[in-house]
């Protein structure tokens, strides 16, 4: 069962993401911000990271950069799930090493479709 790290500072968003992913057969570990996510990422392996952008302490772009510096996460898919939709932010996401950019709110079926596509 693929393991996904879901990162969002909003409890309701974490719940929606977990509900959607676990219903589709994925195992989910939740993190409340980039720092929490990075700590969890260092203690176990994940098949995919799904992260919000605007979070306290460490945002999604910062988390992506830190994870990409680590050999364990060189090729792990990292999807940004955020309200941010400007081209500038998307370019920054791409430069940081993100695999894709999803704008909130997400459609559960579409999210699962994208995850299936990027998890090898």
């Amino acid at each position: 069962m693929p393991l996904i790290l879901a990162v969002d500072d909003s409890p309701s968003m974490r719940k929606m993401v977990s509900f959607t992913l676990s219903g589709a057969g994925y195992q989910v570990v939740e993190a409340v911000d980039g720092v929490d996510a990075f700590e969890k990422a260092m203690t176990q392996s994940f098949d995919l990271v799904l992260t919000d952008q605007n979070m306290p302490r460490l945002d999604g772009l910062g988390l992506t950069r830190k994870l990409r510096e680590h050999p364990k996460f060189k090729s792990t898919p990292i999807l940004m799930l955020t309200t941010e939709s400007s081209d500038l932010m998307k370019q920054a996401g791409r430069a940081a090493g993100a695999t894709g950019w999803l704008v909130k709110p997400f459609d559960p079926a579409r999210l699962i479709e994208v995850i299936k596509k990027v998890i090898k």
């Binding site: 309701s12 968003m13 719940k15 509900f19 309200t83 695999t99 950019w101 909130k104 709110p105 579409r110």
Partner: protein
């Protein structure tokens, strides 16, 4: 309130201190109300999520899997996931707007009246210098882009 361009090259407007104080008060009242609204939304969302989770768990009961009549209910719950993300977006909108209003209130006061020696200068969070991160006007699913 005539524009005064003699003192310096930047045009300035003189305002009665009482007016500035009233505008600052009004801005701070709005910030306070926005925070209350955020609290109400958070509380409502917590309750909503509790009921949503409970209903989903009940429907996941193996003994109910064969009940065809419940398929529509399951589909409706899944479809509601998109709309149930409203609180995250509303909170971000409220937070961003509050910071701007609070920044305006304190800047207006400090520019117009300044602070007396020994008076504590209130801590004001940086006013966001970029547009609101929430651009959506409707609760429709957002775009997906793979790099």
């Amino acid at each position: 309130m005539q524009p005064d361009q003699t003192a310096c090259s930047v045009p300035t407007v003189e305002l009665p201190v009482m007016l500035v104080a009233e505008v600052q008060d009004s801005l701070l009242v709005v910030v306070h109300d926005l925070n209350r609204l955020d609290g109400l939304l958070t509380h409502a969302m917590e309750n909503l999520m509790q009921r949503f989770t409970s209903a989903s768990a009940d429907l996941a009961d193996p003994s109910l899997q064969a009940v065809k009549e419940l398929a529509g209910v399951r589909m409706a719950l899944h479809a509601a996931v998109t709309e149930l993300q409203f609180q995250d977006m509303a909170s971000q909108l409220i937070g961003h707007t509050s910071k701007i209003l609070q920044g305006c209130a304190y800047r207006l006061a400090s520019e117009a009246m300044g602070y007396e020696d020994g008076e504590a200068v209130p801590f004001v969070e940086d006013v966001p210098d970029r547009p609101n991160p929430v651009t959506q006007d409707e609760m429709q699913a957002g775009s997906v882009e793979l790099f």
